[in-house]
Amino acid sequence: MSEWWTYRPSDFLMFSPRVYERLIETHNMALWPWQLVALGVVLAALGLAWAKRPADGRYALAGFGLGLVWVAWSFLWGRYAGINWVAAYAAPAFLIEGLGLVALAVLSKEPLLPLRREPASILAAVLVLFAAFAYPLAAPLTGQPWRASEVAGVMPDPSALATLGLVALVRSRAAVLALTPVPLLWSLYAAMTLRTLGAAEAWPMAGGIALFLAAAAARMLGKRRTFGH
C-alpha cells in the first residue's frame, strides 16, 4: 500500500453501524435459541478444562474448536463476508484455528495445564468467563436489544476472546505460539473496527486482549521464577 501513513482505521471501514447491527440481529434471530446451547457448551468446556482428570481438557479443546468452525462457516463466511471482504479471509483462518484445537485435543493426552491458584491460570480463566458471560451483556447494558447480544460460539468477537483464554492454558508452548495469532489478530481487528463504528463493545474487546496479554506475561514470569529456583 502506498502512502500507508495517510490511512486511518476509518478508511478501512466499509459498512455502516446500522448495517453491522442489523447483521448481528438477523443472525441471532435466525439461530435462536442456539445461543443458550452455545453458552452451555462454553460452561461445560470450562468445567472440563478444570476437572481433576487431566484428559478432560481434551473435550474442552474439541468443544471450542468445533465452535470456531461453526462461527467460521455460519457467520464469517455465511453473512459477514458479504459486507466485509476481511471476513472472507478470516473464515478460513477461524476454520484452521478450530481444526487446530480439535487436532490438539486428539493428539495430546493432557493438553491443558491444571488450574492453579496462580496469576496466569486465574487470568486465563477470568478471560474465558468474561468472554462467555460478560461480553454478551454489553449490548443490553448500552441500550441495545437482547437480540444484539454477541455470544461465544455464535459470533466471532467473543469466540476469539474465549479462545485466547483457553489457549493461555495450553501446556505446549509450541501449540500456544501456533494457536495465538488467529484469535489475537482477529481480536485486535475487531477492537479497531468496533472503535471506528463507535460501538460500546470496543472496550470489552480491548479489555479481553489486555487480560490475555497479562495471562501470557504472568505465565512467562512464572516460568522464569521456576527456572530461577
Binding site: S10, M14, F15, R18, V19, T26, R79
Partner: protein, 304 residues
C-alpha cells in the same frame, strides 16, 4: 439553517456555460440539474452523481436493499445519472445491480466502475458486469492506481473494442497526486477521479488545471469528507451569502462550490437518504457561486 426568500441568483464561471440535461425522468421533481461536458466526447452529464462507498454495502439485508432501490429511484427521478462503485465496496455492486433490475430497463444510468486487483483484471471486470447486470460499462477506472499500468492497457483495449465507453483512474484524499499527474500527461484518459471540497483543495494547485488543459473529465469523491464535514456543521446557521445562490443547506453549499470549479465534471456524494439525494441534485440547479463567493465558502468552512 435559514433561507432568505429574496435570494439573488448569481451565475458564474463554468456554470454559466453549462447546459441543462434533458434526462428521461418519470416523476421529475424540480428543475433539471446542471450538466457538464465530458471533454473527450462532448457528451453532457449531470454534475451530481451517486457514490456507493459504505452506503450501498448492505449485504443480503432485504429491507436495506429496498432502501437503496428507493435512493436510486429518487436519484433518477431528480435527473441523476452517474452511479459509481468498486469491487472494493463489498456488496455495493450487487446492490446497485438489484436496484437497476428493480427499476427496470429504462433507468438512465451512467455506469462508472473500477478495477481493483493485483491479479486478473478482466475476470474481475466481468464479475462486476455480471453483478450490475449491464451489457457494458460507461466508465471503467483503475481504483487507487493499483497495478495501473497493466489495467490501463486492459481498459484501453476494452474501450477500443466497444466494451467500455470511457476509461480513467482514481485516487482519494490527496494520495499519489504526483503519480496521477504523470499518468494524466502520458496516457490517454477520459476521466480522473479525486477528492476535492472546500476543505481539501490540494487538487486546485496542479491536478484540476492539468485535467482542464488535457481535456480530462473530473469526478469528485468524498465531497463531504464521508459526512464528517456536514456533521461538523450541523446546527450552524448558513452564512448569509448562501441564499444568494439558492443554497438551502451546508451540503448544497459544498456541492455548489465543488461543481462550479471549471475542471470538475461530476461530484459523487453517497447517501442512504432519499431526501438527501434530492437535496444533492437540487444543489446543482440554478445559481452557482462565482470565484469571489467560492473563496468566501472556503473561508467559512476552513475551520469546520
Amino acid at each position: 439553517m435559514s433561507l432568505r426568500p429574496d435570494r439573488r441568483m448569481v451565475l458564474g464561471g463554468a456554470a454559466a456555460s453549462a447546459a441543462l440535461v434533458a434526462s428521461p425522468r418519470g416523476l421529475a421533481q424540480g428543475p433539471d440539474p446542471m450538466a457538464k461536458t465530458i471533454p473527450s466526447s462532448g457528451e453532457k452529464i449531470p454534475a451530481v452523481g451517486l457514490g456507493t462507498w459504505i452506503t450501498f454495502n448492505v449485504g443480503e439485508d432485504a429491507g436495506l436493499r429496498e432502501d437503496c432501490v428507493g435512493v436510486m429511484r429518487a436519484f433518477f427521478e431528480a435527473g441523476g445519472r452517474m452511479i459509481d462503485s468498486s469491487p472494493m465496496y463489498g456488496s455495493a455492486q450487487a446492490v446497485v445491480g438489484h436496484g437497476l433490475k428493480a427499476l427496470g430497463p429504462g433507468a438512465p444510468v451512467f455506469s462508472a466502475e473500477k478495477v481493483w486487483t493485483s491479479s486478473d483484471g478482466p475476470a474481475q471486470i466481468e464479475e462486476t458486469r455480471r453483478r450490475w447486470g449491464v451489457r457494458r460499462f460507461d466508465l471503467l477506472q483503475v481504483h487507487n492506481l493499483l497495478s495501473w499500468e497493466k489495467h490501463l492497457e486492459t481498459l484501453q483495449a476494452m474501450k477500443q473494442s466497444g466494451r467500455a465507453r470511457y476509461i480513467g483512474i482514481t485516487t482519494s484524499e490527496g494520495r499519489r497526486h504526483r503519480d496521477i499527474e504523470k499518468i494524466v500527461v502520458e496516457r490517454p484518459l477520459d476521466f480522473l477521479q479525486l477528492t476535492y471540497n472546500p476543505v481539501d483543495r490540494e487538487a486546485e494547485q496542479r491536478l484540476l488545471p492539468l485535467a482542464k488543459e488535457r481535456g480530462v473529465a473530473v469526478i469528485v469523491n468524498r465531497p463531504f469528507r464521508q459526512g464528517d464535514l456536514t456533521q461538523a456543521l450541523e446546527g450552524e446557521d448558513l452564512p448569509g451569502f448562501a441564499a444568494e445562490i439558492g443554497a438551502k443547506s451546508w451540503a448544497q453549499l459544498i456541492l455548489k462550490f465543488i461543481v462550479s470549479h471549471p475542471a470538475v465534471t461530476c461530484a459523487i456524494p453517497a447517501t442512504t437518504s432519499v431526501d438527501h439525494v434530492r437535496e444533492n441534485l437540487a444543489a446543482v440547479s440554478g445559481a452557482m457561486p462565482d470565484e469571489a463567493m467560492r473563496e468566501k465558502i472556503a473561508e467559512r468552512l476552513a475551520d469546520a
